[in-house]
Amino acid sequence: MPQLGNLALAIALILAVYSIVANIYGMRRNAPDFVVSARHAIWSMCAMVTIAVVVLWVALLRSDFSLEYAASYSSSTLPTAYKITALWAGQQGSLLLWTWLLAIFTSVAAFQNRRRNPDTAPYALAVLAGVAIFFLWMLNFVTRPFDLLPAIPAEGSDLNPLLQNYWMAIHPPSLYIGYVSASVPFAFGAAALITGKLDDGWIRSTRRWAIFSWFFLTLGNLFGARWAYEVLGWGGYWAWDPVENAAFMPWLVMTAYLHSVMIQERKDMLKVWNLSLIGLAFGLTLFGTFITRSGVISSVHSFTQSGLGPYFLSFLIAVTVAYTALLIFRSKQLRSPAEFESYLSREAAFLFNNLILVGITFAVFWGTIFPVLSEAVRGVKITVGPPFFNRVNAPLALGLVFLTGIGPLIAWRRTTADNLVRSFAAPVAIGVATGIIGAACGLRQWYVLTAFSLAAFVMGTVLVEFRRGMNARRHLLAEPRAKALVNLVAKNNRRYGGYVIHVGVIVAFIGIVGSSFFRTEVKKSVHAGDSFTIGSYTLRFLGFSEVDTPHLASATARVEVLGPDGREITVMTPAKLFYIRAQQPATLVAIRSTPLNDLYVVLAGIDDSGQTATFEVFLTPLVFWLWAGGLLMVLGTVIVMWPNVRERAAIATVLSRSSSADRELADLAAPGGD
């Protein structure tokens, strides 16, 4: 069986090389047959990588420990679900998953473009095949997933207990889908540069890919944060660890990209900027893999230090140099005739939002690589921790939130004072009122007051927008309120889905601010029957119960939680686990989540006598809203991505008839219209 996996990977590599050659030859020599056969080669490559993935999954499920990978990341007692997720627990498997996703996405892009974009798509597919060659070459020659062990061990070493968790099962694939799908817009951008077809065709053709990528990067980051929150047991969800930063940076750049492409689509500006952003996003996905796999930057969870660093760095440098050279080569053709006209315009708001997003990316990048830089320059490693990232990003986040409110409401090109008052009077009033109420309720931190006021301001702008659109439909089409609202979103999904995402971001922001500023913590050693308090809760330790299975042993504490009125609310069960195979303890956190606050109980220690337990308890206000905001972002993205073919056709007809009322309706549906 493992030989089959090796063979499939070898054939896939050959097919990837062939598809590049055939695509380029077919385009240069005007031989469409070669372009078709290159497409078939890509589909066959996808089939080969799929075979390799299946072979590895079968080995994991059958506990075939002759395979080094299965012996290292699985065991016979590992639950079946985690045998499946063990595919991406280690380095070889992760790269195989990456390659598989790349092969699938390349195949889909090849299918979508079998008739579309005949001038550029073959080059884009060649670029994607080039990326695939790098990964397939790694799998074939550098880090091979199907290597055998000289002697078959009786049992595998088991999966890292930290990874035996629901969120960890879905976090890496989400992140990888986000990373890898960013290479499709990148490839089409590169193809635009190669062919010199520099209009916004490449952006329009890959708009859905970009949103898809952003969606999964969002999910990946949220799942990772949720995993850290539920599993790591320190009460927080984000530590600015290099690995987290590596996942966060592409998200920031993709967010900037999704906004700035609207300016190009609408105003034919910022061509160089957009091409640079997508190049940066792709480069950062490689950089992320580089720093997590190379060990150049020490991380709390750098899972495998390995010799992969130089390969990724070389590939990253090669891609950067080639792409930059292309940008310079085409720079004359990329000049834009249009100019910014006024600070009080949507273009300006989007441009500044881009600058801040890229600025945050740079700050995160700088803080992440500073240990390496300082060692190279001054001979001593200097690190910066979470305080650095928080101090830089907290003010920038405020600016970003402010622009989130401004951007969608302000007019393109320029705006008048009258217009400003009409759009922003109500939201500003809501924001100021929130600040005053906050101060009256005893909030004194200026940052929190500003943050909550700005958040309320943004919510106000979204409300104004929804009301405006709803009223337009009510007057023009005489629809009742509820129907007007539903139709407004359903028929202008790109625009109003975007607003839902904005609301999600703001709700998550409120959760982040609340949980960062108001968390309290209590540590206490107690005998069975004793109690202690945190906030308005009283916690009573009732005792332990112990369970042993062949896979793990556990000691679960029962903690009774009493509310301010002394009545029992719930019984929480934090636990200590011990994984037999890995000889490794693990902590099971108990969380009681409410919209107001989260009670987070960690069983920190058990006395040898078994009578005393030490608890670490966190009371974190508003953290609930981080996850709620995440859900709203998911909902918004689904609305944005929802296919809306009929409406588009309808708009086309409306526009051809071109009465003023119809045009107003159509304008509502236009992407980023005003």
Binding site: F303, Q584, T587, T614
Partner: protein, 149 residues
């Protein structure tokens, strides 16, 4: 009206502000990241500087009190590995360096165990004792099961 230069002023101001934020935060939050050997070499100049020290937990020195959440142990240098992954014996036998670490008020990390590599955050006090605010364990995703089992 000449708009373009005005835009560069706006963009420039934002970039300057970001640069200032980064520079300012660097000055106030950076800390040394040193190995145990480096700490030994620079002991006199470190003073009350915030440190992150990478080292290995010396077996037989670990003392954990679950009631007070106090963890005491010694850290020693992480041996360099050769290409095959075996520790390189130093050519000149040197005095083995180690520092005592006291971490109070934090739960013992699950991955903490004698012989594991850890990063200790804290300050070097008198008598070569590191008062740690945090002990981080690097989690290897791969386990080498004990030979004795």
């Amino acid at each position: 009206m000449n708009i373009r230069p005005r835009f560069f002023i706006g963009a420039g101001l934002i970039i300057l502000a970001i640069g200032y934020l980064i520079g300012n935060a660097m000055r106030t939050t950076s800390e040394y990241y040193l190995t145990v050997t480096e700490v030994a070499a620079r002991q006199s100049e470190l003073g009350a500087q915030a440190l992150r020290v990478a080292g290995r937990v010396k077996p037989g020195t670990v003392n954990w009190d679950p009631n007070t959440l106090t963890l005491k142990f010694e850290i020693v240098p992480i041996p360099d590995l050769d290409a095959a992954g075996a520790p390189i014996k130093p050519v000149v036998a040197t005095e083995p360096v180690s520092f005592r670490v006291v971490a109070a008020g934090e739960p013992k990390p699950d991955m903490f165990a004698p012989g594991r590599d850890v990063i200790v955050e804290g300050k070097l006090g008198a008598g070569g004792v590191i008062t740690a605010t945090q002990v981080l364990t690097s989690c290897a995703s791969k386990y080498k099961p004990k030979q004795s089992q």
